[in-house]
């Protein structure tokens, strides 16, 4: 058996340094990362990377920062498995490996000029924050912006400082709800679908962007359709456990589509018939 070094392989990882970490909740941590040598990770909101924790393994994680900062990027990671738990032990200065970005992100050029209804459930805020940050940095390119956020409890809320800023902005309609309140919680209590009927929107010029746990989509989409938002104007983003990111390994396949290449962002109209999607 001969062994050959190959450069062009898609499995090559770039070394990157963790610049900053921030604990967000008991389970989630935010990492700011920069590729070595000042290289820019050229990405779009909604895309994902494969990150290597050397000695533990590699996992797909969505980008949570807006691509406007070209020198570093951010990911928000929930500790649920071997690699994410290992990642949580890393601190500023530690090295990781990066492949990507991969997949089709949110179609910014199509969204421009339209109103946006952004619906985030739980950790779904992570990829959506990338879009929201981009939209707010380019605010005049978009119409009305509604942001609806749902999470389990007030303690599970991510990006709290930013949520407060969005709440205070006059050019953003922001609302949030928790499934289960807390003694010091004065806000809404209930599932995210309860927020949708009250939104004052013009369906024909509104694009809804929905990201959340798998169980959420069906109910949220039902409400969006009840608001007369056309099916083609509903965008979703899916979580799958990609292993290769290049449309080969089959792990993220839903019927004939590979989430890593054909998604993770899909038009609802294109996937509504796929039994393995929602």
């Amino acid at each position: 058996m001969e062994r050959l070094g190959i450069k062009e392989t898609k499995f090559a990882v770039k070394i990157a340094k963790i610049l900053k970490t921030k604990r967000m909740t008991e389970q989630e941590k935010l990492f700011e990362i920069a590729l070595e040598g000042g290289e820019s990770l050229d990405y779009e909101p909604g895309q994902f990377i494969m990150i290597t924790v050397f000695g533990a393994g590699e996992i797909p994680i969505s980008l949570t920062s807006a691509p406007t900062n070209r020198l570093s990027f951010e990911i928000c990671v929930r500790a649920v498995g071997k690699v994410t738990n290992a990642l949580h032990t890393l601190e500023a200065g530690d090295l990781v490996g990066i492949r990507g970005p991969y997949g089709k992100g949110f179609p910014i050029r199509i969204l421009e000029g339209n109103d946006l209804l952004i619906v985030a459930g739980g950790l779904g805020i992570a990829p959506l924050r990338s879009l929201i940050s981009y939209v707010l940095e380019n605010r005049r390119d978009f119409g009305k912006v509604h942001i609806l956020l749902g999470c389990k409890s007030p303690q599970d809320m991510l990006f709290v400082d930013e949520l407060n800023l969005w709440d205070r902005r006059m050019d953003v309609h922001y609302e949030c709800t928790v499934d289960k309140g807390a003694p010091d919680w004065a806000g809404n209590v209930g599932v995210i679908t309860t927020l949708i009927p009250g939104v004052d929107l013009e369906p024909e010029r509104t694009f809804a962007v929905v990201v959340g746990p798998p169980v959420m989509y069906k109910y949220v989409i039902r409400e969006l359709l009840a608001k007369n938002i056309p099916e083609r104007q509903i965008l979703v983003s899916f979580e799958r456990h990609m292993k290769c990111g290049i449309g080969k390994c089959g792990r993220c396949q839903m019927q004939n589509l590979y989430v890593c290449q054909d998604g993770p962002v899909f038009n609802y109209d294109d996937i509504k018939h796929l039994s393995e999607a929602l």
């Binding site: 050959l4 898609k10 090559a12 649920v80 498995g81």
Partner: protein, 357 residues
């Protein structure tokens, strides 16, 4: 006719041994080998004697040479910095005796791995493997369905192709590398018109032997699958399936994989490898938090069939079943590909009649 003769050479059966030994002098030669109990496997040979010329498809298809069960993708050393080296392991070899079903399987893998984004591990390894095909003059056994998927006759994908014509092999020389094997081993004679006629006669004979193995014409298969997603046939398979993954392991066109990490005990170095993985096993479509997008075995079996008869047709315009019959032969629950297709056809016909009445 004269031109065609050029593309052919003759190898007397007495010279097969010499051909293989000379070939094995410069390269590793892998050929079908009897493992007993009507099981065969591609093993290294140094002479022609022990090659099983009359064999039913090997337990594992030649896929294992192009896409090894375990394959290192990269290795790394952790120090002050981290050194990562991406690698491909390969071996110069000649595969002798590859049936047309398996040639079709290799052609499928070629399409998958050369589609962008390309898989350079596969593409780097591929040219190091020379392929000598071997024609099936008759069906191997009752599980084969090679005619259905148009794989009972050769259609490229080899360097040399052997057809057994009694005392000698008629050999089609398909590539420069094939020609070099013929030249270097000095075992061949030129083919004459008579042998070309004999070959044509054999192919004519084969057209009578190889007939559609199921109750639907291949051109109607995509349409059949179009309407079969909610079929009860999948439930029936789901009830029997043991989710062992044997069918995908032996399949010449199943290429799904997992990527795993191997780390040294001192955690100073490690490597990443890919290994065959199966959509039939329970964790395949699971995500963080435990949600599984194909939780039922029926959905997993359906996925397997759709990955053979529908999805690749959309992407590559061909079936990813080569009719080799391995999945049926190996299934512990007696799930048979031909029976499944016939059951889908029957269900559809019954429904049509019901709608008609």
């Amino acid at each position: 006719m004269k031109d065609m003769q050029h593309q052919y050479a003759l190898l007397s059966k007495d010279n097969l041994d010499g051909f293989i030994s000379r070939l094995s002098g410069s390269k590793k030669v892998m050929a079908p080998f009897s493992k007993g109990h009507n099981n065969y496997s591609f093993e290294e040979v140094r002479s022609g004697e022990r090659i099983a010329l009359n064999y039913i498809p090997t337990i594992l298809s030649p896929k294992k040479f192009f896409m090894p069960q375990y394959e290192t993708l990269l290795s790394y050393k952790i120090g002050k910095t981290i050194n990562v080296e991406t690698v491909v392991d390969y071996e110069e070899m000649v595969l002798f005796g590859v049936h047309t079903c398996d040639l079709a399987g290799i052609q499928c893998l070629n399409m998958v791995f050369s589609e962008r984004p390309k898989d350079y591990n596969y593409l780097t390894r591929k040219p190091h493997i020379l392929i000598i095909g071997l024609e099936c003059n008759n069906y191997c056994d009752e599980h084969a369905s090679c005619h259905l998927v148009n794989a009972s006759l050769p259609s490229g994908g080899y360097d040399l192709f052997f057809t057994d014509l009694g005392d000698y092999f008629m050999v089609h020389v398909n590539t420069q590398e094939g020609e070099e094997m013929v030249e270097e081993t000095k075992s061949f004679e030129p083919a004459g018109k008579d042998q070309l006629h004999e070959l044509a006669d054999l192919r004519e004979q084969k057209r009578k032997i190889f007939k559609n193995e199921v109750s639907i014409a291949p051109r109607h298969l995509p349409e059949l699958f179009e309407g079969a997603f909610e079929s009860k046939v999948w439930n029936e398979l789901g009830e029997r399936c043991l989710a062992c993954g044997n069918c995908t392991n032996v399949c010449p066109t199943c290429y799904c994989f997992d990527i795993r990490e191997e780390v040294s005990l001192d955690r100073k170095s490690g490597s990443r490898y890919r290994m065959w993985y199966s959509c039939q096993v329970e964790p395949f479509a699971k995500v963080a938090g435990g949600i599984n997008f194909r939780v039922d075995r029926s959905a997993r079996q359906r996925h397997r069939y759709y990955r053979k008869f529908k999805y690749p047709v959309l992407k590559f315009s061909r079936f990813f079943c080569t009719g080799c019959g391995r999945c049926s032969r190996t299934c512990m629950a007696d799930i048979r590909l031909k029976e499944t297709l016939n059951a889908l056809v029957k269900e559809k016909t019954t429904k049509l009649w019901r709608d008609w009445e």
